[in-house]
Symmetry: C3
Subunit: 362 residues, 3 copies
Amino acid sequence: MIWLKNAWYVAGFKHELDGDNFVARRFLGTAVVMMRNSDGKVAALRDMCPHRLLPLSAGRRVGDELECGYHGMRFDVSGACTLAPGQTNIPKQACVKSFPLEEKHGLLWIWMGDAERADPELIPDIRWNDHPDWTPSRGYHHIKADFRLSVDNLMDLGHESWVHLRTIGQGEEEVIPNYPVKVSIEGEGLVRAHREMPNIEAPPFFAMVLNHEGRINRWQTAISLAPSICMTDFGVYPVGTSADGAYRSHVLHLLTPETETTTHYFWSVARNQRLDDEKLTEDICKAIAQTFDEDAVVLELQQKQVEAEGGPVPRLALRVDEAPIRARRVLDALIQKEKEDPDFVYRPQLMIEDVTPELAMS
Amino acid sequence: MIWLKNAWYVAGFKHELDGDNFVARRFLGTAVVMMRNSDGKVAALRDMCPHRLLPLSAGRRVGDELECGYHGMRFDVSGACTLAPGQTNIPKQACVKSFPLEEKHGLLWIWMGDAERADPELIPDIRWNDHPDWTPSRGYHHIKADFRLSVDNLMDLGHESWVHLRTIGQGEEEVIPNYPVKVSIEGEGLVRAHREMPNIEAPPFFAMVLNHEGRINRWQTAISLAPSICMTDFGVYPVGTSADGAYRSHVLHLLTPETETTTHYFWSVARNQRLDDEKLTEDICKAIAQTFDEDAVVLELQQKQVEAEGGPVPRLALRVDEAPIRARRVLDALIQKEKEDPDFVYRPQLMIEDVTPELAMS
Amino acid sequence: MIWLKNAWYVAGFKHELDGDNFVARRFLGTAVVMMRNSDGKVAALRDMCPHRLLPLSAGRRVGDELECGYHGMRFDVSGACTLAPGQTNIPKQACVKSFPLEEKHGLLWIWMGDAERADPELIPDIRWNDHPDWTPSRGYHHIKADFRLSVDNLMDLGHESWVHLRTIGQGEEEVIPNYPVKVSIEGEGLVRAHREMPNIEAPPFFAMVLNHEGRINRWQTAISLAPSICMTDFGVYPVGTSADGAYRSHVLHLLTPETETTTHYFWSVARNQRLDDEKLTEDICKAIAQTFDEDAVVLELQQKQVEAEGGPVPRLALRVDEAPIRARRVLDALIQKEKEDPDFVYRPQLMIEDVTPELAMS
């Protein structure tokens, strides 16, 4: 098993359940259908009729119930059957498993493990997706790769210099891995990798957001929070100005395993400046979508290679692999604990503040 | 093994072998090629050259023989090799298995089991496809599902109220499973499920065939005849008129397993009124094709679910499942008998007459 | 294992590595990337970065090195890493396997086995692809079949009468298998099958190359040289003229296994007449491409049948199978020797001369 079961996973954006609809999506290998009740509460059910196995999402919504498209069995959001065709008594096995589903920070969070342990307090604080001081640009990518390859990718931002030259990567003499990175582990689930790049040329994306063509200072902090959330905290400011005025973003990479070889990648790029500039919001969406398209190509190639060749990745540990390897070990340790200790519950802590990090560069 | 081997299966419509052609089709997992001899007799061979395994259907027909497209070996309709390239003596292994193929009721019937037991008298009497008192509308669907899911579907006509609202299903207050069904087993292979629906609104298909918009009486008798033929006998007539004048159809569902997960579905909808109305014949074809397209969507979804989730279906038995479950048991018992008793031969009996059934409704 | 490991296989045409490019191709199941150094030497590396497994061919060429597209690791043509991102010391495991690659007769030759045994003197003499007395028409087919099915096909030219009637096959009364074939084995790897067809009608291809419509004499010698090269030596000349003036071709069928079920088919049809007729060169390309398209249809059908039905082919040995069966036995014996004797190295000898064969026909 490559997944931590007792944990909140991002199931989508809150707005996806606006209106009288439902959303079908697979998480950790299990097909789920989600909807918002007329009383405003969100709910998630196993997406399979207990009778003849049809996906409920192949049927229709009737009020606050889902009706199977084969025989009209209806289920409320608790998974209880409210109507069985041609009979008044409802067999007690006629129910659908429900999953805890919560809303927080503008997101939907699902708990695929033991429902009794699903404490909403355990949802990590990633407030920047939905906070008045930050403006998000949001999107979604479906990645045909194990989510751990995405975490590797996000914890090693050095790859930007080869994969993302058209948007965010430094090229030539200033390739990112040449700047030292400091890796730390915090709590039982968080790995942080911080790097500063003083006095560099601005890659196209940063020139755009700063509206500035000259040389800049740049920092990037890659954070992974087990089991599968990453966050890139970056700041950029023109050389000669103060870091306090930096253009900052919290880039939320909300990864949720769909299957062992595919991943939902919800993302939100929250910025601290030009908050009302809608064109900028849209331009960031486009640039980040392009950037993550570039990652998808690499990740999907890598997935195929891993499937064909087997064995662990990386095969060969470079310095750039320190943070990804630590993040994998942190997750493996949690999965091991969950397996061994029936009372164990992982309490994720995102110990990050909105203050500018202490920078070594001026 | 999910198939009864010693039985006649429908291999196609008789008219498919008109002319100087051949038809390649897989039955019970085995590729077969069929043709009509110049003396009018039909024949079926294993569709594989015994030399280098090419399908004979990838070659050509030469008179009453099939010629392999690789080296020109020729086989007559008994499967004997009549010509081997570059040699005058023909090796005795150079022959192709032939299968008994018969014509009856406008259909082709193939026997995939022990050829010595292939008694044409065992072909069931489904005369309505080819009878002067009945006019058929015919068609074919290729279903990507186990044929038993189709039998389930056809023995439980209650699903019409959800799957076929646009053609034959009653909706809203008159959903079909609300009308009681009487299930009986006849002989060793036949299950019958009879239901009457007095004084209902006419679904679009019945309004069309009756040319009548008001309320109607309707009956439906679903019959399964092991191993894989179903028949729906339905009648409709305006409220206030006599059942003796009912518009009736014998809907023949001629299912033949192609593989364990795919099914040939030949169908013929024979009616007893407006026999010469060719536009009606065509309109019925269209409406029924649409109806069976709707079934195909459900069946193919269900097949995928069964493959992914495993286990028996239904998982949960509702009242609507009585007839399908009995039909499965009848088939399973026959397969078991065939396995255990080397002398056993199943003798299908379609004990249905063209008289109006005794109806409880007026 | 169906492959002889210690042997030279054709990896492509020499001209494919002209310029500042690289070519990625799979041989014997292993992905390889090939390039020509700036000093003119060709080289082949395993197409996989030792770090995160990305194909090197998904990166780019930088001078004489390949750069991985994920983290910019660079490898020279020996497979040594010359640059690792973010570090000055290069881990010693950071290297890529290289394969011996040679150029001879206008072709690239790769050795996938034990590199120490890769003696360029073992490359077979197939000079006609690149010789002033012969003009080649060249092409490539990707065949979705085991290369041994192609060898079968090429050692049994009788199939031309059914597969290639539009180009090179005799039809009707003159079907090729009716002419006797003489099969001989030479050395440890070569099988030869010679057939003469006096006074026959000229199939379209031969009428074109001879620019002659009347009856002709034709010979064909099919040669297989283990592990996977075939050559068809044919000659045609008008009846009443001398064989010494025959239009001859050496048709080189340079088969290299890509996987167990797919084959690279490089081909070169070298002729001894009208050497400077560029339109003829092009017309031969077109006719042969069409001919091999016809073979591909048969071979791919056969591959599917072999996968579905299992077992050896042919199932049934006809006279036309003598040469293919002998060629398979020769290859099997070499593979067996390679397995049993660690010191064994196969020395292919193509004992063919450019003299007209001794013909029985006038």
